[in-house]
Symmetry: C2
C-alpha cells in the first residue's frame, strides 16, 4: 500500500516549525505536548482533513519526532497529508467514537505510558474547542504520574510571524476575497434572495482564480442587513434583499487553510446621514490605526489610534478591533493569541499578519469596512485590493 504524500511546505519548513516549538516547550518546562488544535496540527505536520469532530491529536515529545494519533479511518489521511513516517501514525479503533463507556483519551494515555512518557511534564491545550472538559478529566485520570500544564496557544504563538511561503498563500487568499467582494458589488440588488447572493459568494470563494482554487473558510459568510446588522454574527436567510438598507459582508478568502478576512458594507439606495458619518469616522480611524500598525509598536497602539479617532466622532467602541490571522479551521479564523485592544502590549514584528476588524455594531444597524495586513518596518502591506469604501448601489 503506497500513499504518496503531497506536502504544502518543504520538509525544511516543517523542521523549522518543530524546532521553534521545542524551544518554546523548553522555555515552558515541558517535555511533551498534546496538541489537539487542528491549526497547530496542520502547521506542524501538514495534516489536513475534516476529522476534528472526533478526538485526535499530535504528541510532540521534546526529544523525538511527533506522533499523529486519531481515528482508524483517518490514518490514511495522515499518511497522505503529513511528513510523518508510517510508524509515527497511530490510529485508534472505532469503538472509542461516540461511546458512553469508553473515551478516546484512554487510548492516548495508554500510548503516552507505552512510550515511557507517563511521568513527563505534559502541556495540554486547556482552552481549545477540541479539548473538552471530559477529555481532560480522562487524560488526567489515566496519567496519574504525569504533571499536566496548560499550554494553550503555545504553538499558536510560534505561528505569528509568517514565512515568505506562508505570505504567498495569504496573498492568494486575498485575491480570492477580492474576487468575492467584486462579485457581490456586481450582482447585489433589491429583490434578490439573500441565499442566492451567498451561493454566489461561496461559489466564487471555492472556484478561486484560474491559477489556484479556493479552500473553505473557517467561518461561513456573515451577511446581516438592516437591524440584523446590529448583531455581529448572524449568517443569512432566504428573504429578499431590500432597498434602503445597509448589509455588511464579513467573509474571508482561504487558500490551503490560510485565511484573509475582509469586510465591506453595501447600501442599496441613498445611505442616511448616520451611515455616512460613521463611514467617515471609520475611515479616519482606520487610517490612524494603519499608521500605528508597524514593527516596534504594540497591539494596543493600533487599537488606541483607532479608538481615539472614533471618540472625536462621538463613537465609543469597546470590543477588540483585530486579531492575528493565518492557518485556521472552524469555528474561528483568528489565530487566538494577541488582540488589537488596549492593554495588549505585544510588540508587532515584521511579517505578523492581522485582520484589523474595525466593525461598528450600533443599536439598530452596523457598518463593517476592514483590512487585513502584514506588519512591516514601515507602512503595513495591505493584502487586498478591494476599494476601502462604503459601497452605494442606487
Amino acid at each position: 500500500m503506497t500513499h504518496e504524500t503531497e506536502l504544502r511546505f518543504t520538509r525544511e519548513d516543517y523542521a523549522r516549525r518543530l524546532a521553534k516549538t521545542k524551544t518554546a516547550m523548553q522555555a515552558a518546562g515541558l517535555d511533551l505536548l498534546v496538541i489537539v488544535d487542528p491549526s497547530n496540527m496542520n502547521w506542524l505536520t501538514g495534516y489536513d482533513g475534516w476529522s476534528f469532530y472526533v478526538h485526535q491529536g499530535l504528541l510532540v515529545p521534546i526529544d523525538d519526532d511527533p506522533i499523529w494519533w486519531g481515528r482508524g479511518m483517518d490514518a490514511n489521511g495522515a499518511r497522505l497529508t503529513t511528513w510523518l513516517p508510517d510508524d509515527r501514525i497511530i490510529p485508534y479503533v472505532d469503538h472509542y467514537v461516540m461511546s458512553t463507556e469508553r473515551h478516546a483519551m484512554q487510548d492516548l494515555a495508554r500510548i503516552v505510558r507505552e512510550q515511557g512518557w507517563g511521568s513527563r511534564r505534559i502541556g495540554v491545550e486547556m482552552e481549545n474547542y477540541y479539548y473538552t472538559a471530559k477529555a481532560h478529566a480522562v487524560l488526567a485520570a489515566d496519567l496519574p504520574d504525569a504533571r499536566l500544564h496548560d499550554a494553550t496557544a503555545l504553538v499558536n504563538w510560534q505561528r505569528a510571524v509568517k514565512s515568505e511561503a506562508e505570505l504567498t498563500c495569504m496573498r492568494r487568499a486575498a485575491a480570492i476575497v477580492d474576487a468575492m467582494h467584486a462579485r457581490i458589488r456586481e450582482i447585489v440588488e433589491p429583490g434578490m434572495r439573500k441565499n442566492d447572493l451567498v451561493a454566489e459568494i461561496q461559489r466564487t470563494a471555492i472556484a478561486g482564480t484560474p491559477d489556484f482554487g479556493g479552500d473553505y473558510a473557517a467561518i461561513v459568510p456573515m451577511v446581516a442587513s438592516g437591524v440584523e446588522a446590529s448583531a455581529a454574527h448572524l449568517t443569512w436567510t432566504d428573504k429578499p434583499m431590500r432597498a434602503d438598507e445597509g448589509t455588511f459582508y464579513e467573509i474571508a478568502g482561504c487558500y490551503q487553510r490560510y485565511h484573509v478576512p475582509l469586510c465591506r458594507t453595501v447600501y442599496l439606495g441613498k445611505p442616511p446621514q448616520h451611515f455616512l458619518d460613521a463611514e467617515k469616522a471609520l475611515q479616519e480611524g482606520m487610517a490612524a490605526g494603519l499608521e500605528a500598525a508597524r514593527a516596534g509598536n504594540t497591539c494596543e497602539d493600533v487599537a488606541n489610534a483607532f479608538f481615539a479617532v472614533l471618540r472625536t466622532h462621538g463613537i465609543v467602541k469597546d470590543s477588540r478591533t483585530g486579531y492575528p490571522i493565518g492557518v485556521s479551521y472552524p469555528p474561528d479564523w483568528g489565530e487566538r493569541t494577541m488582540s488589537l485592544r488596549p492593554g495588549d502590549r505585544t510588540e508587532l514584528e515584521p511579517n505578523m499578519t492581522f485582520h484589523f476588524m474595525t466593525g461598528l455594531w450600533m443599536d439598530t444597524w452596523g457598518l463593517e469596512i476592514t483590512e487585513s495586513l502584514v506588519i512591516r518596518d514601515g507602512a503595513p502591506e495591505i493584502l487586498c485590493n478591494t476599494p476601502r469604501e462604503l459601497v452605494v448601489k442606487p
Copy 2:
C-alpha cells in the same frame, strides 16, 4: 430599540421542548443546566448565529425560563432569533474574549450565584466542543457550593424524535441534497478542477430551490478521489478530476439548521471489478439494513443486518454505520446520541431520523452510497430521491 423576532417554530413547539428537557433534568436529579452545545441552544430557544467560537450558553433552571448568556455584540442576535424576553438575555463585556487574565465562565458563575443558584445540582456538557477543559475548571472553581454533574447529550436525547414541522425542514434539506447530487452527475468530467466542482456543489446547496433557500451544512463537502478515498475525511484540492478513478461525495443539504446527509460515488470510466463487487455487497447490505430499520427494532439490529451481508461478500467493516441527524452546527452534523453499531440497543421509535452511513474505506480506495431515513412502524421513509447506485460516467 425594537428587534422583531422571527421564530422558526411556534411558541408551543418551544414550550414542549423545554418541558421535555425539564422532565429529563428531574429524572437526572438536576435543578440547573448549563447548555453550550449550539444545536441544543437552537432547539430550545431558536438561537442562531456563528457566535459559538466564543463562550456562550443557555442557563436552564428547573423552575423558570432559560437565560441566554453570551458576548455583548451577540445579544441583539439573541433578541432577533429567540423567544426569550429581553430580561432573559444577559450579555458579557468584551474584555472576557480571548483574555489570558479573565475567563468568560467567571461571568457565568457570577450570574448563577446572583440568581441564587450557587448551590444547585448543575448539569454541564462535559463532552462538547464548546465546553473546554478550562471552562469547566473555571466554572467549578467559581461555584464552590454547586455540585457539577455530567449532562452530556441530555438535551440531544430529547431531540431524537422529530415533530412534523421538523420533518418538513428535513424533507426540504433532502430536496437540496438531491439537487446537489444531480448537479454533480451533470457536470463532473475528467480535467475539471475539483474545486470548481465543489464550488458548484456549494452554490447549489445554498441556492436551494425556487421555493426555499439552503443553509450552511455543519461539515463542508468531503470529496475524495482514487487513493484519497481510502481516507474518510479529506476535503478537496484544485487538481483536475481524473479518468479511471472513483470519487465519493459526502455532502448534506441543510435547511434552517436541519441536515440531511447523502453520499454517492461517481466513477469516471469503466469501474474495475472490485468496485462493482463492493457496490453489490453494499446494495444488498443496505437493503437488509433498511429492512431492519423500523420501530421496535434496535440500533444494533440495523448494523448487524448490514454487516452480516457484507461478511458474506468477504468485507469486514468495524466502524459505526450510522447516526441520528437533525439540527446541527459545525463541526459535526450528527446528533451525538445513538450509533448504528453492535452493542447499541436503543430502541428505534417512529420519527427518529438517521443517516445510514454505509461507507466502505478500503486500503487504496473507497465507496460511499448512503441513505438518510425516518423511522416508521413499517418500512422507513427514505428522505432523498437520488438513485441509489454507483454512478458511472464513461
